[in-house]
C-alpha cells in the first residue's frame, strides 16, 4: 500500500516538473505573442492615433476596416496597392525559388548521380540565408548605386551601356532586385527542407522504381513529388507568411520607391504606425486584414495540396503503386 502511494507520488511529481520546464516558453508566448495579438485586435477598432492615445483610446467600431475596404478612401488605395506589390514580388521570388530548390534537392539526393563536393555546394547555397536581410539590402543598394556604383561601372566598362542606369527609379528593376534578393537568400533554406523531405522517403521505393526501369524524370514526378507533399505544404505556407510580411529588404533598399511600387503591406503598416501622426488604429486594422489574408491563403494551400478526402487518398496511393508496378 505504502509502496503504491510512493509510486503514485513520484509520477505526479514528474509531470509537475514537466510543466515547470515548459513554463518559460508559455510565459514568454503569452506576454510577447498572444497579448500583442489581442492588443492589435483591440487597437484596430479604436481611435488610437499618436502615442498619447495608445492606452487611453475609445472604441469606435469598424471605421478603420471600412476605410481599408472603401475604394474611395486614401488608405485603401495604398493598402491594396501594397498588397499587390507584395504578391508580385513574392511570386517572382517564390516560383524560381521552389523550382530551383526542388531540382537541386533531387540532384543532391539522387543515388544514381552521386554528385561530388555536395557539402561544399550545400553550404555555399545556404550561406546567404545566414546574413541579416538588412545587411544584404544595404549591400545591394551600394552595388546598384547611381550614378557611380560597382554595377554601373561594370556595365559601362563592358560597353553594355554608355550611360549609368538609375536602377531604383525603375519599377521593374526595383521589384526584380527585391525578388532576386529574396530568392537568393531563401533558396538554400528551401533546398535543405526539400532534401530533408526527400531523405525521409523510404529508399525501397526508389530502388523499386530503379528495378522497374523508371527514368529520373518519372521517379521525380511520380514518386518524389507526391511523397514530399506534406513538406511542400509546410514550405508554401511558411513562404506565404514570410512573403506577405516582407519588410526589411524593401524598407532598406528602395523605401517603397519608385512611386510606392515596392511598398509592401508590412511597410504600409509600419508607415501608418510609426511615422507621421502614428495611426496605430489603422496600422492594427491593416495587420488584422493581413492576418486574415494569410489564414485564407494558408488554408487554400492546404486544401489544394493535401488529400482532402481520406478514402480516395488511399485509392490514390494504391493507384500509384500499381502504376509503378506496371511499369
Amino acid at each position: 500500500m505504502q509502496a503504491a502511494a510512493g509510486k503514485k507520488h513520484k509520477s505526479v511529481s514528474y509531470s509537475h516538473w514537466g510543466y515547470i520546464f515548459i513554463a518559460p516558453f508559455f510565459i514568454t508566448f503569452l506576454i510577447f505573442q498572444l497579448y500583442p495579438i489581442f492588443f492589435t485586435f483591440r487597437t484596430s477598432v479604436t481611435d488610437a492615433v499618436g502615442w498619447q492615445k495608445i492606452l487611453n483610446n475609445n472604441i469606435i467600431g469598424f471605421e478603420n476596416f471600412r476605410q481599408l475596404f472603401d475604394s474611395n478612401s486614401l488608405v485603401s488605395g495604398m493598402f491594396w496597392g501594397a498588397l499587390w506589390n507584395t504578391i508580385i514580388i513574392w511570386f517572382f521570388n517564390f516560383v524560381p525559388q521552389l523550382g530551383l530548390a526542388l531540382i537541386l534537392a533531387s540532384w543532391f539526393t539522387d543515388t544514381r548521380l552521386r554528385l561530388r563536393g555536395q557539402g561544399f555546394f550545400k553550404v555555399t547555397i545556404f550561406m546567404p540565408n545566414i546574413i541579416t536581410a538588412a545587411t544584404i539590402g544595404m549591400l545591394f543598394m551600394s552595388f546598384f548605386a547611381y550614378p557611380i556604383g560597382p554595377v554601373n561601372t561594370l556595365i559601362q566598362t563592358l560597353g553594355l551601356s554608355n550611360m549609368p542606369i538609375e536602377y531604383f527609379r525603375s519599377t521593374a528593376w526595383s521589384r526584380g532586385l527585391i525578388s532576386f534578393i529574396q530568392w537568393w537568400m531563401w533558396c538554400g533554406n528551401t533546398m535543405i527542407i526539400m532534401i530533408a523531405g526527400i531523405s525521409g522517403i523510404n529508399p525501397s521505393l526508389f530502388e523499386a522504381a530503379l528495378v522497374d526501369g523508371c527514368s529520373s524524370r518519372q521517379t521525380f514526378w511520380k514518386i518524389t513529388l507526391p511523397l514530399i507533399k506534406p513538406i511542400l505544404v509546410y514550405n508554401l505556407t511558411t513562404s506565404l507568411v514570410g512573403g506577405l510580411t516582407m519588410f526589411d529588404i524593401p524598407h532598406m533598399m528602395t523605401q517603397g520607391q519608385p512611386n510606392n511600387t515596392t511598398n509592401t503591406v508590412a511597410r504600409f503598416i509600419y508607415m501608418q504606425g510609426f511615422t507621421g501622426s502614428n495611426n496605430f488604429n489603422m496600422a492594427s486594422a491593416a495587420s488584422v486584414v493581413l492576418f486574415g489574408i494569410i489564414i485564407v491563403g494558408s488554408l487554400l494551400i492546404r486544401y489544394i495540396l493535401n488529400d482532402h478526402d481520406p478514402k480516395p487518398a488511399v485509392r490514390h496511393r494504391d493507384a500509384n503503386k500499381k502504376e509503378v508496378a506496371v511499369k
Binding site: V49, G50, W51, Q52, I54, L55, L74, V75, G77, M78, S142, A145, Y146, P147, I148, G149, E166, R169, Q255, G256, Q257, P258, N259, M271, Q272, F274, T275, G276, S277, N279, M282
Partner: protein, 453 residues
C-alpha cells in the same frame, strides 16, 4: 586557513565601511538618456568632477531607424515616473519638434530657468526647442548654422573668383546661383558641376520659406517650394549637377576632388566631421590635422582648398537638444530640480564652459554670448579653409536663420516631398500637378491629424 579567514573578514569590513560611507552622503540621482555617448563623455569630463553630490545613470540607445524614439515612447507613454525613466533626455533635430509638442516634455521654467538665462541662446536653436505655444522645452549645447563651402581653386579657374566676397556675389540668391551654375558648365565644358545633386541644396533652401509645413493645422505648401522644384529641375535637366545624392559615393568623391564639384551646403558639424575627413584618400580622423598632413605627404587632396561663404540663405542643419521628462520633474524635490537646471544650464548656456569647450573641440556652441566672446578673442582661423575664420561666418547664419519654420512632422513631410515631388519631377517622370496630388495624398494618409486641401 586563518590568514584566509582574516582576509575575508577584512574585506567584509571594508565593504561594510564603503557602503556606509556612500549611504551617508545624500546623493542626487539623475537618469540621462541619449542616442550617442557624446553627452556622457562631456558630463564625465567637465561636470562630474566638480559635482560629487551628483550621481548620474546614463542610458544610450542608438537612433538606428526609430530605435531611440521607440524606447522613449515606450517608457514615457506607459510608465513615465518609473525609476529607469529619464529625467533628462536628448533630442535630435529630426524629432525634437515632435517631442516638444507633447505633454511628456516639461517646461524648462518649471525647473528654474529664467527669461534672462534663456535670452543668450541663439534664436534659431531656441525656437526649435519651443512648442507651438512658445514654451521653451529644449535647449541645444551646439548651434548648427550652415554655410556654403566651395573650392577656391575651381572658383578661380572657371569663374575668375579670387576672394570669398566675390564668391558670395555669385551665390547671393538662388537666381544668381543658377546663373553661376550655367556659367560654370560653359567655362569647364561640363567637367565641373555646381553641386553634387539637386537634393543637396534642400537643407538650405527650406529656410527660404515664409511659413513651415503646417499652418493652423493645415498642410501648407509654400510658394518658395515650387520655385525650389523649378530650380532643381533646371539643375537636373541642364546637367548642372553630378546627379548624386548626399552621402553617396559621388558626394564623397567630389569632396576628395576626384570629380570636380564647386559647392557643398554644410553646417558646422559637416565641416569638421564630414568634409574634412573626406578631403583626402586615407585621412585618419583619429589623428590631428598636422599628423594627417605629415602622413599624407603630397596627396593632401582638397585640404586647404575650401572656403566658406554665407550662400543664398541663412540656415541651420542639426543640433541636439536637452529636454526634461515632465512627469518626473513634477514630482522632483527642489534639490533635484536645481540639479537638473544646473546641468542643462552648464552645457547649453554657461558662457565660461562653452568658451572653453569650443576651444577644446572646435564645435560651434549654442550660446550667442559665448560665440561673441570667442570672436572677440581673435576667432578661430582654420587652415583647412586656407586661414579663413569659420566662426565668423557661422555666427552670422546662426543669428539670421529662422527656426520658427520647423514643425513636428517635418522629418516625415520632408521625406514624402522628396520621394513624391522632387525626385519624380526633377527626373521628368511626372508633371508638377500630378506630383503634388500624389504628395498630398500621401501626407493625408500618413498624418491624419492635419488637414490637407
Amino acid at each position: 586557513m586563518k590568514k584566509v579567514l582574516a582576509l575575508i573578514l577584512a574585506c567584509m569590513l571594508l565593504v561594510g565601511c564603503m557602503s556606509f560611507a556612500s549611504a551617508e552622503g545624500e546623493k542626487v540621482k539623475l537618469v540621462v538618456w541619449s542616442f550617442t555617448n557624446e553627452l556622457q563623455t562631456m558630463i564625465e569630463k567637465y561636470y562630474l568632477p566638480n559635482h560629487p553630490e551628483l550621481e548620474i545613470q546614463f542610458q544610450i540607445y542608438p537612433t538606428d531607424g526609430h530605435a531611440y524614439q521607440d524606447k522613449v515612447d515606450g517608457l514615457l507613454g506607459s510608465n513615465a515616473t518609473s525609476e529607469e525613466a529619464p529625467d533628462i533626455f536628448t533630442l535630435e533635430a529630426a524629432f525634437v519638434k515632435h517631442y516638444v509638442e507633447m505633454d511628456w516634455t516639461g517646461d524648462l521654467k518649471d525647473i528654474g530657468f529664467t527669461d534672462e538665462e534663456l535670452s543668450v541662446a541663439f534664436p534659431v536653436m531656441a525656437q526649435i526647442g519651443q512648442n507651438s505655444a512658445g514654451v521653451q522645452k529644449g535647449l541645444s549645447w551646439q548651434s548648427t548654422p550652415g554655410a556654403l563651402m566651395y573650392r577656391a581653386s575651381l572658383a578661380e579657374k572657371y569663374l575668375g573668383v579670387k576672394t570669398p566676397e566675390e564668391m558670395q556675389e555669385k551665390v547671393k540668391d538662388w537666381d544668381t546661383f543658377l546663373e553661376t551654375a550655367e556659367a560654370l558648365k560653359t567655362a569647364s565644358e561640363g567637367a565641373c558641376k555646381m553641386v553634387v545633386g539637386s537634393g543637396d541644396i534642400w537643407n538650405a533652401y527650406q529656410y527660404q520659406r515664409s511659413a513651415g509645413w503646417v499652418v493652423d493645422g493645415k498642410l501648407n505648401i509654400d510658394d518658395e517650394l515650387l520655385d525650389f522644384e523649378e530650380l532643381c529641375k533646371t539643375l537636373e535637366q541642364d546637367d548642372l549637377t553630378h546627379k548624386g545624392g548626399a552621402w553617396s559615393e559621388v558626394w564623397f568623391a567630389g569632396m576628395r576632388g576626384e570629380i570636380e564639384t564647386l559647392c557643398y551646403f554644410l553646417p558646422t558639424w559637416g565641416l569638421h566631421y564630414t568634409l574634412k575627413p573626406h578631403c583626402a584618400e586615407g585621412w585618419n580622423d583619429k589623428l590631428s590635422d598636422e599628423d594627417n598632413l605629415a602622413a599624407l605627404g603630397e596627396n593632401i587632396g582638397t585640404y586647404g582648398d575650401w572656403r566658406m561663404v554665407d550662400g543664398p540663405v541663412a540656415y541651420s542643419w542639426g543640433g541636439t537638444w536637452m529636454g526634461i521628462n515632465a512627469a518626473k520633474a513634477a514630482t522632483a524635490d527642489d534639490a533635484k530640480k536645481a540639479a537638473m537646471h544646473d546641468l542643462i544650464y552648464f552645457f547649453t548656456l554657461n558662457d565660461e564652459f562653452l568658451t572653453q569647450y569650443a576651444a577644446d573641440s572646435g564645435d560651434f556652441v549654442g550660446s550667442a554670448k559665448a560665440v561673441e566672446t570667442i570672436l572677440a578673442n581673435g576667432g578661430t582661423p582654420n587652415p583647412f579653409l586656407g586661414g579663413q575664420d569659420h566662426y565668423a561666418i557661422f555666427a552670422s547664419a546662426a543669428a539670421l536663420a529662422n527656426g520658427s519654420l520647423m514643425s513636428e512632422y517635418d522629418a516625415d513631410i520632408n521625406d514624402l516631398w522628396d520621394k513624391f515631388v522632387t525626385t519624380p519631377y526633377t527626373k521628368g517622370e511626372k508633371d508638377l500637378d500630378a506630383c503634388l496630388a500624389d504628395f498630398k495624398e500621401q501626407v493625408a494618409a500618413t498624418i491624419t491629424t492635419i488637414t490637407v486641401e
